[in-house]
Symmetry: C2
Subunit: 563 residues, 2 copies
């Protein structure tokens, strides 16, 4: 019996946007099966065993090496001697049980599967250093793994890489309540950190759907964007320091807790978004903004005009959200609403999310969520966070009057209590889940100039016609970030050829990014050249060669197969 953990989406109450997500699920898996391409032979403790699910509703995940054309690089194969050495380095924390390994070999989208035979659970940077020094000497490949919530196959092994888990490196080192600077180990779960700093009247500068599982080290390694990006910006700005263990075991201590530090090259930046290919992040220092205090949950009804339910405010004194869902007749109106919104809500605007009609249909059909507004081509979710209840309510009210009065928005609802706010966020947050229930999903996560953001969806819908079940677009409009998803009954290589490189070339034509926030991982690595010119790709390869000359860190990821 094998347990397969899927990411634990946050179920925290009212702690932050996106609290209403799917709960932690444990799925039973049986039926061992041999992985044909795995080195190590078929017998003994190191034999590569694969597992598939009993449940007929969840199809078996193909081995990555079978689904994709990829060749194993000439790394060493883990031996009994290696296992004994690891046992000396991290006693009692060497996992070789195939059932336990299963959850770390398969990514949560269930489209990538490695066949690693050992997982190590260090507790300290020194242990990580010793492990990497050993692997470097032995030429053993390593797959650093946090919460395993990545969407591009970057967080699981491709072949038999050793999985280096940060799960036990989960201690908060320090928190400064004047500066709001948190220092912690890389394996701290984001949701736990959120709770920790909120108790001290601060918030984490990032929040994302997978917060219940994802590790802060993984967030930094993948330069996670998420729901607070519009307000607090990139991790390149909010991460103040990192401790990183390099491929040869060298500990690079750049773990300063300073807002400003212009002493030499800002080395930590190299590792933010490097997806574990340049070093293993073991500790993070990050700037937490003060927790917004204001509560405004206003209600807007198109028939009766704006009506601020100020009586609700006292009761909600501990929350800081406004959630406003509005419908827009066209994408031009979406853009105009965004400009108006930013002008009128200014510094309190914290999210501006959009979703199209297909998204609404998906969450209605598969998750039975109810739409609180009339049918429309586009829906918007606007959130504000501020320091004054009354001020924020007033600003939001003026904005809503303006956009409804001018006809930019045709209908709207504003959460008047916690559960309604949760329900509004769920409509946006659970699209990913609804998509996964619609069939096989081709996922794209692109950055485009905001004016062209939706053109790619329209264009692709026309191009695919009846080949696709659905072509849907949603995302973080304020960040110019489109999540484009195509659903079909089952994976089809022919459709993939229709989609790629078309989507990438279209994006490149707008000087967009073929991966806005998901990274490249294993699946998107060959798309890199659509967003970066040859000299940039070459420099990336030189950096990889400099920092990891044997290429043992997260191989087959991020950098293209051929330059």
């Amino acid at each position: 019996m094998v347990l397969c953990r899927v990411p634990r989406w946050s179920v925290g109450l009212w702690a932050s946007p996106g609290w209403w997500r799917t709960t932690c699920t444990l799925r039973a898996l049986v039926r061992p099966k041999r992985g044909p391409g795995c080195p190590g032979g078929a017998s003994g403790p190191l034999a590569c065993s694969m597992f598939s699910k009993v449940s007929s509703c969840t199809p078996e995940v193909m081995l990555t090496q079978e689904r994709y054309p990829v060749q194993r690089l000439p790394f060493s194969v883990v031996s009994e001697e290696d296992l004994a050495a690891f046992e000396r380095l991290v006693p009692g924390r060497v996992v070789t049980d195939p059932e336990e390994l299963e959850v770390s070999n398969v990514d949560w989208l269930r489209t990538a599967r490695g066949c690693s035979k050992v997982l190590l659970r260090p507790r300290t940077s020194e242990e990580v250093s010793r492990i990497l020094r050993y692997c470097h000497e032995r030429n053993l490949a390593v797959n650093p793994q946090g919460g395993n919530t990545g969407l591009v196959g970057g967080s699981v092994p491709v072949f038999d890489e050793i999985i280096l888990s940060t799960a036990l490196m989960n201690q908060v080192t320090s928190f400064n309540s004047v500066s709001g600077i948190l220092t912690c180990q890389a394996g701290c779960v984001l949701e736990g950190l959120s709770r920790y700093v909120q108790e001290r009247d601060f918030v984490m500068p990032l929040d994302l759907g997978a917060k219940g599982s994802c590790h802060i080290g993984g967030n930094v390694a993948t330069n996670a964007g998420g729901l607070r990006f519009l307000r607090y910006g990139s991790l390149h700005g909010t991460v103040l320091g990192l401790e990183v263990v390099l491929a040869d075991g060298t500990v690079l201590d750049c773990l300063t807790s300073l807002r400003k530090d212009n002493t030499g090259y800002d080395l930590k930046q190299l590792f933010i978004g490097s997806e574990g290919t340049l070093g293993v992040i073991t500790a993070v220092s990050i700037l937490c903004p003060p927790r917004p205090k204001a509560v405004n949950v206003a209600f807007l009804d198109l028939d009766t005009g704006s009506d601020l339910e100020m009586s609700m405010l006292a009761r909600l004194a501990r929350c800081f959200l406004e959630s406003n869902l509005a419908s827009c007749p066209g994408f031009a109106e979406v853009l105009q609403t965004f400009s108006t919104c930013r002008g009128m809500l200014g510094e309190i605007l914290s999210a501006f999310e959009f979703m199209d009609a297909e998204c609404m249909q998906l969450v209605q059909q598969h998750l039975h969520l109810a739409s609180p507004v009339q049918e429309s081509a586009f829906y918007l979710l606007v959130e504000t966070s501020g320091s004054s209840t009354g001020h924020d309510a007033e600003k939001l009210g003026c904005f809503l009057e303006q956009v409804l009065g001018s006809g930019l928005v045709t209908d709207g609802t504003v959460a008047t209590d916690e559960s309604k706010a949760q329900a509004l966020w769920a409509l946006r947050e659970r699209i990913t889940e609804a998509l996964s229930r619609d069939g096989y999903v081709y996922k794209y996560d692109v950055s485009l100039p905001v004016e062209r953001l939706y053109d790619l969806v329209t264009d692709l819908r026309a191009r695919l016609g009846s080949q696709a079940r659905r072509v849907v677009g949603y995302g973080h409009l304020g960040d110019g970030n489109l999540h484009l998803n195509v659903t079909v009954d089952a994976f089809s290589a022919a459709l993939l050829d229709t989609l790629e490189p078309y989507v990438y070339a279209w994006t490149a034509g707008q000087r967009g990014s073929v991966s806005a926030e998901h990274g490249l991982g294993f699946r998107k690595r060959d798309a890199l050249r659509y967003s970066k010119p040859p000299p940039a790709v070459q420099l990336m390869q030189q950096l990889k060669a400099l920092l990891d000359p044997k290429g043992i860190l997260n191989p087959y990821k991020l950098l293209p197969t051929q330059a």
Copy 2:
């Protein structure tokens, strides 16, 4: 007759904080003098000529190579053939006139002087590329130069490096009024860009005293901090793209205009803060926040209590500043006031600056500025920028009532009109100028944990006793950034020995940064090891070797003499 330009501090009216600064000055220089250590011989057009001033009040600037123990590296010497080649590459824009060169050979603090014999003024990235390709082949050293407003000797040659000026690369390429993303050439002056985006209802995310001279390329190359850092954060977060020409002439195009882009390593980050040693930044894409609209200028009088002068508001509808100067009895109160301020002003807080009593005496004595508050140990300047006049006034009023009522602040004044706001900002902004009139200045710019920020000043004052004229501390408290300055009658090597490495070691003892925002340049490069451990310094050297194997870019800067 030689003209020496000092940086043009902004004199723009009411455009941003810090508008009231010294005006542009042109100083006459004569008396040619030979630079003894300059290669190239004493005769002919390439002879190295030094100049000193007529004015007795401004002492001659010693050659860097004479004041400091530094050896010229074996770069080639610019020949007549090189000059002819440059003339072909940038026709009519090859400057060899010694008088014209003077202003680019001397830094504005007048403590560093090179003896470059040629300055090139390219207009395009392609021209920069051709120049660097040529210099790389010929092994000629290059000093990239923007507005030459640096404070650590990083912006001028140490010996005879070719000066590569970005002054003619001053075109705005594009501005997106929906996203607020500006793309421009590296030589655009910050003040001009500020004006440009303000006319379009946005602001630049950075502002600093030298805005009238400094170039955006230089700002990025030095990772400038400045006055808006507290609100908009680091350039590592706000710079979205860079075009950089590498040492061998390769053009690295990372000039995307996207808020999110996770395709491969974020190469542009390498060049932010690299002080021209890894590549020459030729174009910048940067995210501009919406221009705050709100006006609140409130007046607070300790005797009569808080009184918000709301009648002023309509008249000032186009400005967005609140300036509040308050006095605090001790540093503990300063810290408590900061915590209170951040809690109560929240998202509208845009500056929290502090200065000690010595600073106030300096600006009174040398600049004849009047203090609007009673004498105190510390003074605070608080600025807010927001989107609503009334809301911001109310928040500020509540805050002031709180801190005055609780005794944290003993006196205060709030600007009621433009000129008073200017006068308040001038007290903080013109400290640097007042210092330079007090004698020779030993300047330190450190980051420390906020709790210990002022201890270094107190400690050093006790240590130096009568050896120093003044030991003063001021800076960006909200950023944990202390500007520590020691003034004396004239430079003394003995005093320098008392100061260094003491100040650096003290800072290192707190895990602080020995250069918060000024960078290392030439003068602070050997202090690097106090803030970065050996593996980090070694990796920096490896990066330098990778990107500039011949070391021709801004040599003698940033990296220590010996690792």
